[in-house]
Amino acid sequence: MEFLLASAIGCLTAAGVYLTLRKRSFAVVLGMTMLSYATNLFLFATGRLVIDRPPILSEAAQGYTDPLPQALVLTAIVISFGMTALVVMMALGAFVEGGDDRIDLPRRDRRGPRA
């Protein structure tokens, strides 16, 4: 199970990094989503992988799983979801104003408009 989860996180991260380095904003947004999935899975795994245990202390159960990473992941999911929505809106805004969805700044950002 550890191997499965670790390789899944690794694949997601690799795909995320590759897509984030593309130059069109659509691919970059997808890449950021994958990166945040990978991070969330990783964060979830930091409490150790346990099966069939409740996240609270209970006399009936044989043990418990660490509830804190689950709470952290919930916060992280909410934040990354909101951020993804925001970056999509901003990328759309740049697309509408600029006419293309390239992620790099055009030359006139550094050189200025021709006087």
Binding site: S36, L43, L72, M83, L86, M90, A94
Partner: protein, 517 residues
Amino acid sequence: MNHWLVVPVVLPAFVGPLIVLGMRRDLLLQRVFSTAATAAQLALAVWLMVQALGGEVQVYRLGNWAAPFGIVLMLDRLAALMLVLAALVGLAVQLYAIGSGWDRRGWHFHALWQFQLMGINGAFLTGDAFNLFVFFEILLIASYGLMIHSGGELRLRAGVQYVIYNLAGSSLFLAALGTIYSATGTLNMADLALRVAQMPASDTAILRVGAVLLMLVFAIKAALVPLHFWLPSTYARAPGPVAALFAIMTKVGIYGIIRFFTLVFPADSVIERFAADILLPAALVTLIVGQLGVLGSRHLGRMAAFAALGSVGTLMIAVAQFRLPGLTAGIWYLVHSTLATAALFLAVDLIATRRQGGSQWLRVAPPIAQAGIVAALFFAAAIGIAGLPPLSGFLGKLAVLQSVRDAEGVAVIWAIILITSLLAIAGLTRAGSLVFWKAHAAQDAPPPQAEPDEPPHDATPVSAPLALTATAALVAGMVLLTAFAGPVMRYADATARQLIDPEPYIEAVLRNQEGVK
């Protein structure tokens, strides 16, 4: 418990939504409420600083839960100083935004401003690493909104880059926190400090990875080379007052480095002097890149952005010593460089709003209105950021030079600081003479027909006395910092002493927990 500790977070958290929900269409009301809230934060921050003067570390347990389990807010000298600085810059720059009419050019400026201050105040106050992440996100979300305030193609494009860079940084932050949690089982900063100190040396591989990841995260926020690529375009393309407020944002990253690498991972713990060994070369390269950028920019905003980068480099050289004189000099320079960077951005914006089409390009253009007073403010801000006497930057640079006297390779460090200062002076002089003096030669020439940098908006009130006063207030801050250099330096020294002896901090959080749940 002193309930005033939570007010710097709660007050803007209430005023922000109030502005969005209750006074969306009434700009005057927004201005009144938002300015009053920022002024109240300044008064509160000063009062908290007076309480922190004696050296007592105050703890506020949210919901009165016991320490490693509940979230705590902490007030020590460093946190109090940062609160005062944030509120001071926040208030001055907000008055500038009102005076120059920037807050009219888009929606929700004042609400976002309050959320931004809430995130900054929270980041300085919190004593919990995950809570620090949450406050980072709050201040970042607000900064995304402020960054693209009033729109425009290049601003949106630069904004997308800024958001994506910081999203990657946030993922890294989470990964760092996860790594540290899996190694120690806690995220309370004081508790972390205890457990890291007790950890057997053979078992620290994961922890060291976490520490370095965390350093990378803070280095992204502080814009240390080679993680600085987001800064120049963001600062150059952000609205002038927003760029001035962002002067405090890089300092949040510096604050994180100071806090974590004195409290949790001090030089005698698991990572030894690894942090210092990496940060010092990075700081030197940051300084070189920043000051070269000042000399090489063709755009006023970009020049100010590179000047900000250079000041972060100088600051980090002092902080990377992680010893008493270095931290003292660093804290002093932190106060100075925040004021100087904010003043420079406002001076640049004063020029841009008076030029045709809001142009910030370093090209000869007809003379601007009120050239005398704007030139004086630009001159003062440039002297401040370059570190020339008589303003506080000179004392700051002296203190930084003094603090590295015992370091290895002191000759190289001194040479880099002094030579790059010369580069910055040359760059700033060229910009000033081109904008203010060569303009007279171009007086009769027809104005160049360039496409405007700013999207069209209502004509700015050109005289704008409030905007000039707000910029002058930041310059006056540097003058006061020079005049009261003695007391401020003593405070910085006391702060540094508190930082290198974290025992009372840990004591305050984890012991004396009567009456908690």
